[in-house]
Amino acid sequence: MEQREKLLEIKNLKQYFNVGKPNMVKAVDDVTFDIYKGETLGLVGESGCGKSTTGRTIIRLYNATDGEVIFNGANVHGKKSKKELKDFNRNMQMIFQDPSASLNARMKVSDIIAEGIDIHGLAKTKQERMDMVYDLLETVGLNREHANRYPHEFSGGQRQRIGIARALAVQPQFIIADEPISALDVSIQAQVVNLMKKLQKEKGLTYLFIAHDLSMVKYISDRIGVMYFGKLVELASSDELYENPIHPYTQSLLSAIPLPDPESERTRKRKVYNPNIHDYAEGEDVKMREVTPGHFVYCSEAELKQYQAIHAK
């Protein structure tokens, strides 16, 4: 496990908005984690917890307030030449939540998909460019006839496929998917998730999968991070997180998911998270600590002992 290659390292990432004003928001507050090559890291939490901001800061849609994002050994933030930036953009792509808002309504599908190809000069001739577009369309389960249409002619699920094709066009290593299925119907969600899984296998992609639908996240992710108020509070492999949630917030979040099983719903006990139970002293060193191997929890030294006593086998 330890031998795995790190694709992305996020170190003490901070993203504050309205710095220096009374309404300063610490959207992402000192978050540290790694993403390994070929894995899917899920990021969950309630709205406003900073999960989308984390994704957007990683891909440099925002300039980080503090901290580092190291991608393939190079820092993402900080001064970059145009060429470096272009290179970086090619390797990291994003899929957005709302497929109708993230596709330019006045561009043809072929031009939307080929925009990255044009910018990076990946196609030498017009023919080659169109061949690449057709290829991509077929990869995501659309037809080549779709290339000449406009986004409004497609259903939500198809539009999200176009968004995926666009992200794949520049052959990235890493894709940030920000709630890619939240806007879709249940029966269509499964189609898109299956497609993402298939593409990962074929192309060796690495995903950061941001969502609030916990059952889908568990299905697609290898590891899951839970965020609460700008902090990462727990990080573990997805099975471990579901079977052995340690942080009280994670426990309350998991106990709140309704399962499609009437029998278990009748007996479900919901836990309520009260942030006051931690009772951290002023200046106490609270950080991510490894409770059991590979399972990190945001806690103090005293809590670590307590958690280990309960959860270590």
Partner: protein, 347 residues
């Protein structure tokens, strides 16, 4: 088993530039006193149109109730005059909408918004209405009701706003409460609170609920009975246990197996292929046939009637016809059925 609301063969069309969209194509169901009936289905299946027609909230300019009856309290709501409907809407039947941001008026203090239906329907003075409004705020679990009474919707969080919407809906102790995706816009933890609140209130004021959602987890949590809609029709209806553990319609199979179960990780999710039907030109046969792996020749030619599975369980699929071949439902569904059967034997 007192029926409080009966919908019979309801047909609703919308007139658009493209032609007539047959949004509801013969929907029948009953609502029994004190129960929660969940209506599930994907967008465009007609679940919201059905309930909006019960409230008579469909725009008169382009929609038309082409046939059928909505029987409530001895009256056919489909034929009532607007004036008469105003006496029922918000009093006997009320509604909770999906998005608490848009269903409250941002320029009116919430106290006044809660008092509105009370003054309108109950013939009481302002002072009594205010007292009742404060009581309602307490009932839906809003702390400091006196102070909150004077605040505007933007001063509330999403979950608190939805509580206010529920307070307004319950202001006149309605006999029927229609909740149209009331928790879809909320976070899971808040969703759990709102669902608990609704179940609790249902017991207190003894109301019947029609709950629209596409989240099967929520259905399993709140529903007594479930109706599955597809292409403007109800394709399966039964108690929550029957629909979840012994589903008969291939569309219900698809819905259930497209949700990831917590134990099967490596299998690919079952995805219902294709897209929902175009109701501008509804297909001649079963609307689900083009997406249905189990479709037979007859599915393309004739619409299936409702076949009876048990006294409470019906499904519209030709697979239930005595002459139909035996088919195996998908793995995920079979696992559920097995569980159900072993439990039945245990009893």
């Amino acid at each position: 088993m007192e029926k409080i609301l009966e919908v019979k063969d309801l047909e609703i069309s919308f007139h658009t530039f493209g032609g007539e969209v047959q949004a509801i194509r013969g929907v029948s169901f009953d609502l029994i006193k004190g129960e929660t009936l969940a209506i599930v289905g994907e967008s465009g299946s007609g679940k919201s149109v059905t309930t909006k027609s019960i409230m008579r909230l469909l725009p008169e300019s382009n929609s038309e109730i082409k046939g059928g009856q909505i029987l409530f309290d001895g009256k056919d709501l489909a034929k009532l005059k607007d004036k008469q409907m105003q006496g029922i809407r918000g009093k006997d039947i009320s509604m909770i909408f999906q998005d608490p941001m848009t269903s409250l008026n941002p320029t009116i203090k919430i106290g006044k918004q809660i008092m509105e239906p009370i003054i309108k329907h109950q013939n009481v003075g302002k002072a009594t209405a205010k007292e009742r409004a404060l009581e309602l705020l307490r009932l839906v679990g809003i702390p400091n009701p006196e102070q909150r009474f004077q605040q505007y919707p933007h001063q509330f969080s999403g979950g608190m706003r939805q509580r206010v919407v529920i307070a307004i809906a319950l202001a006149c102790n309605p006999k029927v409460l229609i909740a149209d995706e009331p928790t879809t816009a909320l976070d899971v933890t808040i969703q759990a609170q709102i669902l608990e609140l609704m179940k609790d209130l249902q017991k207190k004021i003894d109301t019947s609920i029609i709950f629209i959602t596409h989240d099967l987890g929520v259905v399993a949590n709140v529903a007594d009975r479930v109706a599955v809609m597809y292409g403007g029709k109800i394709v399966e209806v039964g108690t929550v246990d029957e629909v979840f553990y012994n589903p008969k319609h291939p569309y219900t199979w698809g819905l259930i197996s497209s949700m990831p179960s917590l134990d099967a990780k490596d299998e690919a999710l079952y995805a219902i292929p294709g897209t929902p039907p175009d109701l501008l030109n509804p297909p001649k046969g079963d609307a689900f046939a083009p997406r249905n792996a189990y479709a037979m020749k007859i599915d393309l030619e004739e619409q299936p009637p409702m076949f009876k599975v048990s006294d409470t369980h019906y499904a519209a699929t030709w697979l239930l016809h005595p002459d139909a071949p035996k088919v195996e439902p998908p793995e995920a569904v079979k696992r559920r059925m097995k569980k159900f059967l072993s439990e039945q034997e245990g009893k």
